[in-house]
C-alpha cells in the first residue's frame, strides 16, 4: 500500500472530519457490526481477496468472517510481476485458512513461471473440491513467454470433465484434453490466447450442452466455426492470432445463434453464413493481411457477402474499418445490399472517409429506427487508403451531406431516435446532425452525450458555456419533424 500512501492519508483525514461532524470518535456506536453474519460475509465477498483477508484484522466481530466467503478473487490490477512469490504465498495461506464449504467464484491472475505449475494444480483441485461454479485462471507471460509451447501451464485433465462449472475462463495455458470434454452445467466459456482447432471446438460444444456464451479471444487455429449447438446464443470472436494467410477464410455458421460479434484484428478473411436466428451482430474488426498489394477488392467483396448474409439482423454495430470499406463501395457507386435492420450503431470517430459508408448504410436500411454514433468505442481502427485511391475518388467532406441525393428511405419513414455518444462538436458531426435533423421526418428524439470514455473514466468534454453555444446552434438547425426533441446529457 506504499504507493497509495498519499491518497490514503487524504481520504482518511477526510473521513475523520466527516466522522467528527457525526459526533462520534472511535467510541461511537458500531453500526455495521450489528448486521448479521450472512450480510457481513456477503459484503466481504464483494471485495478482492486482499481486502477480504484484511477485514479479519478489524475487530473481534470480523475475525475469521472472511473464511466463509464464497468468492475468492485473487486478481489484482496493480499486480507487479515481482510479487509472484508473494502472491503464491498469499493464495496458499488463504486457502489453508479458508473455512467455507462451497466456493462460488475462484479467480486467479498470475504471471506464469515454470515452478508455478504444482501450485496452480493444488489451487484448481481445491476449488473443484469445493464445487466451484465460476473458475477463472488467467496467466500472462513474462518477458519471453510463449503460450504456444509446452512451457505454459498444462491444464489438469480432471478439469475437462467437471459438472459444477457454470462459467469458465482460461487464459494463456495449454488446452489439450486427452479424452472427451464434459462440462454439463457450463453456460459461459471464455478462452483467451489458447491454441485451438476445429475438432477441439466441436468437442467443447458437444460436451457442453448448456453453453450459451462462447468468447474466443486471441486464439489460434480457428478456421471454421460451424456450430450446430442448439444452446449457443452469443459468439464473440476477438483478434484471432494466426499467421496472416489470405487464402484461408474464417467461416462462421451457427443456426441458433442470437448474437455474433467479430471484433478486433482478424488474420483471415471472414465469412458468415447460415445464421437465421441472429438478432444482433457486431462487425468491429479489421483484417490484417500479409500482402502489400491493394486488397480493396477482396475486402469489399468479403464485406458485401457478410452484409448480405446479415441482412435480416435487427441490430447491427459496425466499426470504422468496415464503414470505410463500404465507403470504397459507395464512391465507386456500387449498390449496397439492402437490409431489414432497425438499429444501427456506428463505432467510429467519424472521419471524412466514413461519410460515404454511412450514407451507404443509411440507404440500405430502409426500416431503420435507431441510429447511434458511438465515438468512444475503442475498436475504431481505420482503413489504410491507398494514395491512388484517395486521389481518384476524393471528395469534399465538408459538403458531403448537402450533396446527398436521393434521401434514404429510413429518414423519411422510420428513423425515430438518434444518439451521439462522445460528441465532440466537430464539423463532421455537426453536419451529420444537421443533415439528419433536416431530413428525418418522424424523428422523435436526438440525444447527445457529451462525455467521452477515455482512460477508463468518463470525462466531460465541454465547459457549460461551450455547451450552451453548441446547444443553441443545434437548436437553430431546421427540423423536418415537428416532434423532434434534442436532449443533451
Amino acid at each position: 500500500m506504499e504507493e497509495r500512501g498519499n491518497s490514503d492519508e487524504l481520504i482518511s483525514s477526510l473521513k475523520r472530519q466527516k466522522n467528527c461532524s457525526e459526533s462520534s470518535t472511535k467510541e461511537g456506536p458500531d453500526w455495521i457490526s450489528g448486521l448479521p453474519d450472512s450480510v457481513l460475509i456477503h459484503i466481504i465477498s464483494l471485495l478482492p481477496m486482499k481486502d477480504a483477508v484484511k477485514t479479519g484484522t478489524l475487530s473481534r466481530r470480523w475475525d475469521y468472517l472472511w473464511t466463509s466467503v464464497q468468492n475468492l478473487d485473487f486478481r489484482d490490477p496493480n499486480y507487479w510481476d515481482e510479487d509472484v512469490n508473494g502472491l503464491v504465498d498469499f493464495i496458499n495461506h488463504t486457502l489453508i485458512l479458508y473455512n467455507g464449504s462451497k466456493i462460488q467464484k475462484f479467480q486467479v491472475g498470475i504471471e506464469f513461471n515454470d515452478w508455478l505449475s504444482s501450485h496452480v494444480d493444488i489451487w484448481i483441485r481445491f476449488a473443484i473440491r469445493k464445487n466451484v461454479e465460476e473458475l477463472d485462471i488467467e496467466f500472462w507471460g513474462g518477458e519471453d513467454a510463449d503460450p504456444f509451447d509446452s512451457d505454459s501451464y498444462m491444464l489438469p485433465q480432471y478439469l475437462y470433465t467437471n459438472s459444477s462449472f457454470t462459467k469458465l475462463r482460461l487464459g494463456f495455458c495449454s488446452f489439450r484434453p486427452h479424452g472427451l470434454i464434459c462440462w454439463r452445467s457450463l453456460k459461459n466459456l471464455s478462452l483467451a490466447c489458447l491454441q485451438l482447432s476445429e475438432n477441439l471446438i466441436q468437442d467443447i460444444l458437444s460436451g457442453s450442452p448448456l453453453l450459451e456464451i462462447l468468447d474466443l479471444n486471441e486464439c489460434s487455429g480457428l478456421n471454421n466455426l460451424h456450430i450446430t449447438s442448439p444452446s449457443l446464443k452469443i459468439l464473440i470472436v476477438r483478434d484471432t492470432c494466426d499467421i496472416p494467410n489470405s487464402d484461408l477464410v474464417l467461416e462462421i455458421s451457427a443456426p441458433n445463434l442470437k448474437s455474433l460479434r467479430i471484433v478486433g484484428f482478424m488474420y483471415r478473411l471472414c465469412r458468415v453464413m447460415n445464421l437465421p436466428s441472429l438478432i444482433e451482430a457486431s462487425l468491429n474488426f479489421k483484417v490484417m493481411s500479409d500482402h502489400e498489394d491493394r486488397y480493396d477488392e477482396g475486402y469489399c467483396k468479403m464485406l458485401k457477402v457478410i452484409l448480405e448474409n446479415l441482412c435480416h439482423v435487427k441490430d447491427l454495430t459496425i466499426g470504422a474499418w468496415c464503414i470505410q470499406i463500404l465507403s470504397i463501395w459507395e464512391v465507386k457507386i456500387l449498390p449496397s445490399p439492402s437490409s431489414k435492420r432497425q438499429s444501427l450503431t456506428l463505432d467510429t470517430y467519424l472521419n471524412k472517409w466514413d461519410l460515404p459508408g454511412i450514407a451507404s448504410l443509411l440507404k440500405s436500411s430502409p426500416d431503420l429506427e435507431t441510429l447511434v454514433l458511438n465515438r468512444t468505442s475503442p475498436y475504431s481502427t481505420q482503413f489504410q487508403f491507398d494514395r491512388e485511391f484517395l486521389d481518384a475518388y476524393d471528395f469534399d467532406g465538408g459538403n458531403y451531406w448537402n450533396l446527398q441525393k436521393p434521401i434514404s428511405q429510413c429518414l423519411l419513414h422510420h428513423l425515430k431516435t438518434v444518439k451521439v455518444i462522445g460528441f465532440g462538436a466537430g464539423n463532421h458531426e455537426m453536419e451529420l446532425i444537421q443533415f439528419l435533423l433536416k431530413n428525418a421526418m418522424v424523428l422523435e428524439k436526438m440525444v447527445i452525450y457529451t462525455h467521452t470514455f477515455v482512460h477508463q473514466i468518463w470525462r466531460k468534454l465541454f465547459m457549460p458555456e461551450e455547451l450552451l453555444d453548441i446547444a443553441q446552434k443545434m437548436l437553430s438547425f431546421p427540423r423536418a419533424s415537428p416532434h423532434a426533441v434534442i436532449l443533451f446529457s
Binding site: R4, S12, D144, C241, M288
Partner: protein
C-alpha cells in the same frame, strides 16, 4: 382519504399520490372514520403493516408484494385490515420503512429500463453510514435481496482499498484484537516495505541473469523478427481495448502472446502489457522518490523521440496514467506519413543521438548490452533502454508499419516500449 374505484389511469395516479401524501402527512395512523370511506370494491387493495414500535402503516398491495417476506404473509391472508396487520421485524423502524417502500415502489413497476433503475439506485443510496447499515439490516430481515445487494456494494466500496485503521475509523469498530490474533496472511508479502524491496531486488537480479543468457542467443534470432513483432504490436493495441462495461473492477488486460514458430529478441518487444496499465504508472508516480526518476527518464526518452523526429506530434504522452488507447484521429492521418520519416531518421541519426545521451545526465545503472552490429554503442544507462530499443528495431518497426498499414499501431508500440523501459528504470532505481 379519497378512494375512487374507477379504472382510469388518471384517477389511479391521483389515488396513489393521495395515499402517499396522506402517509407522509399523518405519519401512518388511520382513523376509524377513514376506514368507512373505503369501498370494498376498490380497484387497488392495501396492506397493513406494523413496525416494531407499534405504528401502523398502509401500503399499496403491489408495492408490499415486492418484499418477499411481506409477500408470504399476504398470501396467507394477513395484512388485509387494520386488525390483522403484518408485523415487521424489529430491524425495521418507520423511517427506514418509508425508504424501503420508496425503493419497492420504484422497482416494482415492470416497465422501467435498466438505466432508469440504476440511476434511481445511485441516487437512492446516498445517505450516511448509520442509515446505510440500518437499511441493510432492514432489507435483510425483509429478504429484499436486491436492496441488500445494493447496500452491500456500497459498504464494500467503503472498505475496499482502505487500511484496517481507516475502516475502523469509518465504522467505529473497536480495535479489540491482540497483535497475534490479527492473523494476516498478507503480512508476509506485499505490505511490508522491506519485504517488497527485497522482492524487487531479487526480481531485478533474476532479470539481469535472464538477460545475460538471452543476449547470447540474440544474434541467432535477429533475422526472424518480423511476423512476431506484427502480432505483438497488435496484441498491445488490444491491450486497452477490453470490452468493458464502464469502470468495472476487473481491468484485466494482461495478455502477452507469442507466435509458435518464432522466438523473440530480448527485452524490448516482449513487453508485458500489464506494465502498460495506467494504474501501475500512476501508482508508481505517486511514490515521491520514484517520481523524479520517472520524470527524468521519461523526459530523456521523449526528448530523444522529439529530437529524432520533429514532425512527430509532440503530444504529451507521459502524464500520469495518460496511456491513451484512443488516438486523436487528427493525428492518425499525419502519422501515416510521419512514421516513415521517423523510422528513417531514427536509423540514420541514431549513433549521434546515443552519444549525446550517454554524455549527459543520469548514470543510474549500467546494464551491459550489445547488439549485433551495434557494438560501438557500448554500455548504456538503463534510462536509455528505450532509445536503444528504438534504434535496434527501427528497421523492423518500419517493416511492421508496412505490414500493418497502420501508422498509429506503430505509435502505440513505441509508446508502450518507452513506458516499459521507463518502468524498468524505476524498478532499477528503487
Amino acid at each position: 382519504m379519497a378512494q375512487e374505484s374507477t379504472g382510469s389511469e388518471h384517477s389511479h395516479q391521483v389515488r396513489s399520490s393521495s395515499v402517499y401524501l396522506f402517509m407522509v402527512g399523518s405519519y401512518l395512523q388511520m382513523s376509524e372514520g377513514d376506514m368507512a370511506v373505503i369501498k370494498p370494491e376498490a380497484m387497488k387493495s392495501y396492506i397493513w403493516l406494523q413496525t416494531a414500535d407499534g405504528s401502523i402503516q398502509q401500503v399499496e398491495e403491489e408495492v408490499a408484494m415486492f418484499c418477499p417476506m411481506i409477500r408470504q404473509d399476504i398470501l396467507t391472508g394477513m395484512g388485509s385490515s387494520k386488525n390483522y396487520t403484518i408485523s415487521l421485524p424489529r430491524q425495521v423502524n418507520p423511517a427506514i420503512m418509508s425508504l424501503i417502500l420508496d425503493y419497492c415502489r420504484f422497482h416494482q413497476v415492470p416497465g422501467r429500463s435498466n438505466k432508469e433503475r440504476k440511476s434511481f439506485d445511485e441516487k437512492f443510496i446516498r445517505m450516511d453510514t448509520k442509515r446505510l447499515c440500518e437499511l441493510t439490516s432492514a432489507a435483510d430481515s425483509l429478504q429484499l435481496k436486491s436492496l441488500v445487494d445494493l447496500t452491500s456494494r456500497v459498504l464494500a466500496r467503503m472498505i475496499e482499498g482502505r487500511t484496517p485503521e481507516e475502516i475502523r475509523e469509518t465504522f467505529h469498530l473497536p480495535d479489540d484484537l491482540t497483535e497475534e490474533e490479527k492473523l494476516e496472511p498478507l503480512r508476509n508479502t506485499a505490505d511490508d516495505p522491506r519485504i517488497r524491496r527485497l522482492n524487487q531486488l531479487y526480481a531485478r537480479k533474476r532479470k539481469e541473469l535472464k538477460q545475460k543468457d538471452k543476449l547470447k542467443n540474440v544474434e541467432v534470432e535477429e533475422d526472424r523478427v518480423d511476423e512476431r513483432s506484427v502480432d505483438d504490436l497488435l496484441s498491445f493495441i488490444n491491450g486497452g481495448d477490453e470490452d468493458s462495461k464502464g469502470v468495472s473492477a476487473a481491468k484485466h488486460k494482461k495478455k502477452n502472446h507469442r507466435r509458435k514458430d518464432q522466438s523473440m529478441d530480448s527485452s524490448s518487444i516482449n513487453v508485458n502489457k500489464n506494465h502498460m496499465k495506467s494504474d501501475i504508472l500512476s501508482s508508481v508516480c505517486c511514490n515521491g522518490d520514484v517520481n523524479n526518476a520517472l520524470m527524468q527518464s521519461l523526459g530523456k526518452t521523449s526528448k530523444v523521440q522529439d529530437v529524432a523526429n520533429d514532425t512527430f506530434a509532440p503530444e504529451v504522452e507521459f502524464d500520469d496514467g495518460d496511456i491513451d488507447d484512443e488516438l486523436d484521429p487528427a493525428m492518425k492521418e499525419e502519422l501515416d506519413r510521419e512514421v516513415e520519416d521517423f523510422a528513417r531518421i531514427l536509423n540514420s541519426e541514431w549513433p549521434e543521438r546515443m552519444q549525446e545521451i550517454l554524455t549527459s545526465g543520469q548514470e543510474r545503472r549500467v546494464v551491459p548490452m550489445s547488439m549485433n552490429g551495434d557494438d560501438s554503442l557500448g554500455r548504456f544507462t538503463s534510462a536509455n533502454q528505450a532509445a536503444w530499443c528504438l534504434s535496434v528495431h527501427a528497421e523492423t518497426l518500419y517493416q511492421m508499419r508496412n505490414n500493418l498499414r497502420s501508422a498509429y499501431s506503430f505509435r502505440f508500440f513505441e509508446k508502450r516500449l518507452l513506458l516499459r523501459t521507463a518502468v524498468v528504470t524505476i524498478q532499477n532505481a528503487l
